[in-house]
Amino acid sequence: MTTFSFKTIKPLLIVLSMAFITNLSHAGVAIIVNPGVGIDSITDKDLQRIFLGKTKNFPNGTSAVPVNQNVGEAARDTFNAKVLNKDEAQLKSYWSRLIFTGKGTPPKDEGNDDAVKNLVANNPNTIGYIDSSKVDGSVKSVLTID
């Protein structure tokens, strides 16, 4: 058994605090809508229904056009895991069931945080998700996922 001296613990503490700081810069993923959509908030259940093709409308009745980020983008992985509770393979399998029965097609992949923000800012009815540090006045954030 070795006993930990303050000396050995110190570098560990530094590493831990660095990890914490890195985490802070990725504060979370913001769900953003075009300001014209007219909703102020949204629930996980609504998001699941919109992004899994179970409804074509926002809860207020406005038509909804969901957009994804590209495969491999950090925000997409967070959104899939935290909101849809599915990984890429499960989603692929889920959508293959709808595509080949003519029941729906997945949201289009529209690039990274900046590309999705631009698209949502400029297209009515759109809803997407971006790193919350990227949110600005061009879009409306309706939910933040940590």
């Binding site: 409308n57 069931r97 003519g102």
Partner: protein, 386 residues
Amino acid sequence: MARSLKKMGLLFATCLFPTLVFAQVTINGFVSAGGGTADGDIVDAGGNIDGYDDDWTFSADNILGIQISSPLGDNLSATGQIVADGLTEGEGDEKYDAEVSWAYISYTFNDQVTGRVGRFRAPLYLYSDYLDVGYAYHWIRPPGEVYSLPFSSVDGIDVVYNSFLGDWDSTVQVYAGSVDDGTDDNEFEMRNFVGVAWTLGYDWLTLRASYHEADLTFIDLNEQFETLATGLDAVFGAGAGDDFNITEEHFYFIEFAAKAEVGDLLFVSEYTSLNADSGPLSEESESWYASVAYRFGAFTPHFTYSETNNDPFPVTSGLPTGVNDGLLATANATAEGVAANGDGETSILGVRWDFAPSAAFKLEYHDVEANEVDGDLINFVFDIVF
């Protein structure tokens, strides 16, 4: 390849709707390719298991499906799906003769109600809608004891009603249509074919119940049983042999399914019951399976048990003994033979490996008992969607 398919789709759209050449035509497809070999008394007796005999063969699971869909205006869209597989009955080249499994025009009344006219999948089972799309489920194919009805598409109309009941998603599908199907030596037709399927989904849980009925006519089977039917009529009076003539006979089919996906664990089970008002097909044919799968990253090992049991139809009930007992015995033996022919149970041990995006490799071992004869099967397949 993808390019020429795209061209084909455009060509298709151009011919039909010249003014909509640049409407979005979506083309999707799926391919399954694999092989297998069977062993045991079933193949020693000249039979096969799911299309495989005692040599390694590579056609029974090969499937190519191409789907083309196009919006035709605000609420109207057209969808077609052509499937060619290596299991279809026929010699040589006929094997891969393409069949149209979907060809319908759908009209979306609103966010909740969609109506369709044309050819679509009869919603008989939990996995009916994407039966050929192996990528969509963990097996190479759903358990044959339950997925045993010899047709999968119906020509007709349907209405699908989607709604939310609190946190539950509800889908009710009501349809009516007809079926002309079967193999070269066993053709049949179904009329007044109607049914309803109700699916409830709550996050990790899916529940399904469905009911279907039809008037069934067997064309070739009736010829096979003709001698027996005429014999019974001659000895016991007109009508005595009616059970051996299946013409516009009423059949009904009930199905229940439950699927739970909790984290990486999947459990799915399905029960079906096919009932006939007259023989010699089984009076009741009951089937079920239960399957459990667990995902370890890209690997999903799974185990399934399934079985089917058939009750012989009482073809001679009401006929007096002591007149021609030999003929009665023949009639009973025939009905029992038909029923026993469908009995079976299978255990499947397998693994699915998602080795690339949109592609999976599956390996399975099947331990089969069919009509009290044993056999086993080793089977693999690659499933791809594009």
